[in-house]
């Protein structure tokens, strides 16, 4: 994961996120520039504090068609504490061909190894590099 997009994303989301935070996990939300729609689901939800959980990201175009070949990254941070997670989540492999082109059926990208080690507000950041270009979004999740 590159540092650059995190920076950009954090700046973009800025205080505008406070209005956008009404969007919650389990709902599709439009990415920053509007290229995609992303739905994040936590499994289990709510994730028990201090325990590993999974994040399932579903990525579609604005018209709802799944984006199956994007590069998707998800991270979680606690801005008030200036830290991220103690873990390094990993994307489950998609269906890859001999040239290592991978497809994620139905636009579903599953990440194992998330952990909220503290209660409080976590920012979930999603970055998509897809057929329409790069775009990102974030939402705030209150862990308790």
């Amino acid at each position: 994961m590159t540092r650059a997009w995190l920076v950009g994303l954090a700046l973009l989301s800025g205080c505008t996120t406070s209005s956008a935070t009404s969007a919650s996990v389990g709902e599709f939300r439009r990415t920053q520039v509007g290229r995609y729609q992303v739905k994040l689901e936590l499994e289990p939800e709510p994730p028990p504090l201090g325990e590993l959980f999974r994040v399932r990201a579903t990525v579609t175009l604005r018209d709802g068609r799944p984006v199956e070949t994007a590069k998707v990254e998800v991270d979680a941070q606690m801005p008030q504490h200036e830290h991220g997670m103690e873990t390094r989540p990993r994307l489950r492999p998609g269906e890859c061909d001999a040239e290592d082109r991978c497809k994620f059926p139905d636009g579903i990208y599953i990440f194992d190894g998330f952990k909220f080690h503290m209660s409080g507000d976590w920012t979930l950041l999603v970055h998509v590099e897809g057929p329409r270009g790069p775009d990102s979004t974030s939402l705030i999740y209150r862990a308790r």
Partner: protein, 427 residues
């Protein structure tokens, strides 16, 4: 994971938080949300399975483990057992700032009840299971000063019958006859040379008895679960609709609890049934006389620990905690595990360095946050609390309500007198 640089985060920091003002509530008058927090703090003794140890819930293994836990014969000095530093009468700690075994340890001895639940053992989490943890003190030159060969021989000589009944096998008489008194890799050059001189078969046999002995100790430790405290009975009564909480907490304790979950926000880290997030934080403690890397080293160590979940001695290969651990997490520097607060009144002195003598000193520390961290920075959420002296005393009083009912005698003493004289000190 990586963290965006400070500048961009400051933008986020500037965002107004929720500005909804809650009505001011009296201590004991709990909101729905607070009731949820209390429910989450209530003791839940359900212990998750430990797939790394096939004998973790075997009562016979636990019984053997109990004998081993109290047996000073496992130390060549004949004088140090696990119970030396984990004394049942002191909540399985030792009442000292740092511990005294064959030598002096660098850190304070934590309580054992409650430690079973988390994924990491030790203040820095350098072991990922109870049995892997137990290898540490056995072979530590300042704790039991023993080694795996000495340990295995003692187990066979003194607890052989119980061992064979549970695990079968063990060391044969010929092996016992030909093994050197002491041998182990990596402790000191003599022991190392003796270890290298063993045949592969003998090494394997020693490892077998050593790791199974450790697993028996772990099976015993799994039975040392925290017990119900006045706080739990209070929560039960409140949740059942009695605003007085059955009178299980004194008014000062209810005030202390109220401070704990509200103004002082201790539940940010001390939450859940064991009052710990099982995570690592740098509190910027006063009185640190030397640099202790804490979790930043512990995370690296656990990933390469000889007996970790991924090792050949583990009974599972599903090791998710290890798989996703990020040892480069920046705030691991000088961070230590949040300890359980159950039975905390029994386990003075406090903190990983044992530098705070009383609970009152602990509260004073959180209230004033003197000085700053010599490394990295103090956990940013910690802010001076501005407590009154009464607030401080009430918080302490509340912490006293976390002392559980005593464990049954059958768990706090050895099963039968151990004849330590049967193994004269060597070396």
């Amino acid at each position: 994971m990586r963290i965006a640089p400070l500048a961009s985060l400051l933008v986020l920091l500037g965002c107004p938080g929720s500005t909804v003002t809650e009505p001011v509530r009296q201590p004991g008058d709990w909101s729905e949300e607070e009731l949820q927090t209390l429910r989450a703090l209530r003791l839940d003794p359900t212990l998750p399975a430990d797939p790394t140890n096939r004998w973790s819930d075997d009562p016979e293994a636990a019984k053997l483990g109990r004998s081993l836990f109290f047996d000073p014969g496992l130390s060549p000095s004949g004088a140090v057992s696990c119970a030396t530093c984990h004394n049942p009468a002191l909540g399985f700690s030792d009442g000292r700032a740092v511990s005294q075994g064959v030598g002096e340890t660098a850190r304070n001895a934590p309580a054992i009840p409650g430690s079973q639940y988390g994924p990491w053992q030790f203040w820095d989490g350098r072991a990922d299971t109870l049995w892997a943890q137990a290898a540490g003190p056995v072979e530590s030159p300042v704790e039991m000063g023993s080694d795996r060969t000495f340990f295995a021989r003692h187990v066979m000589n003194t607890h052989g019958e119980a061992y064979r009944a549970i695990f079968g096998g063990g060391l044969t008489q010929e092996q016992l006859d030909r093994l050197p008194a002491r041998a182990a890799p990596g402790i000191d050059p003599d022991l190392d040379a003796a270890w290298k001189a063993l045949s592969a078969e003998d090494r394997e046999a020693v490892m077998e008895v050593f790791t199974k002995g450790l697993k028996a100790i772990a099976a015993y430790e799994r039975q040392l679960l925290p017990t119900e405290a006045p706080f739990d009975r209070y929560v039960d009564a409140v949740l059942a609709g009695d605003p007085e909480g059955g009178g299980h907490l004194k008014p000062a304790q209810v005030r202390g609890l109220s401070l704990f979950v509200r103004e002082a926000n201790c539940t940010l880290c001390h939450h859940g049934p064991h009052f710990t997030d099982r995570a690592f934080h740098n509190l910027g403690l006063p009185g640190l006389t030397r640099y202790d890397p804490g979790r930043s080293l512990g995370a690296l160590e656990v990933l390469s620990h000889e007996f970790n979940c991924k090792s050949p001695w583990s009974d599972t290969d599903r090791c998710e905690e290890l798989e996703y651990l990020d040892p480069s997490f920046p705030d691991f520097q000088q961070a230590f595990k949040t300890p359980t607060l159950r039975n905390v009144a029994l386990t003075a002195p406090y903190m990983h360095h044992g530098g705070l003598q009383t609970l009152h000193e602990v509260i004073e520390f959180y209230d004033e946050l003197p000085g700053e961290s010599n490394v990295n920075h103090r956990e940013l959420t910690l802010q001076p609390l501005g407590l009154t002296e009464k607030d401080r005393r009430d918080l302490v009083s509340f912490l006293n309500a976390l002392t559980g009912d005593p464990l049954p005698d059958r768990l706090t003493s050895p099963p039968d007198p151990v004849d330590a004289s049967s193994t004269p000190p060597t070396r």
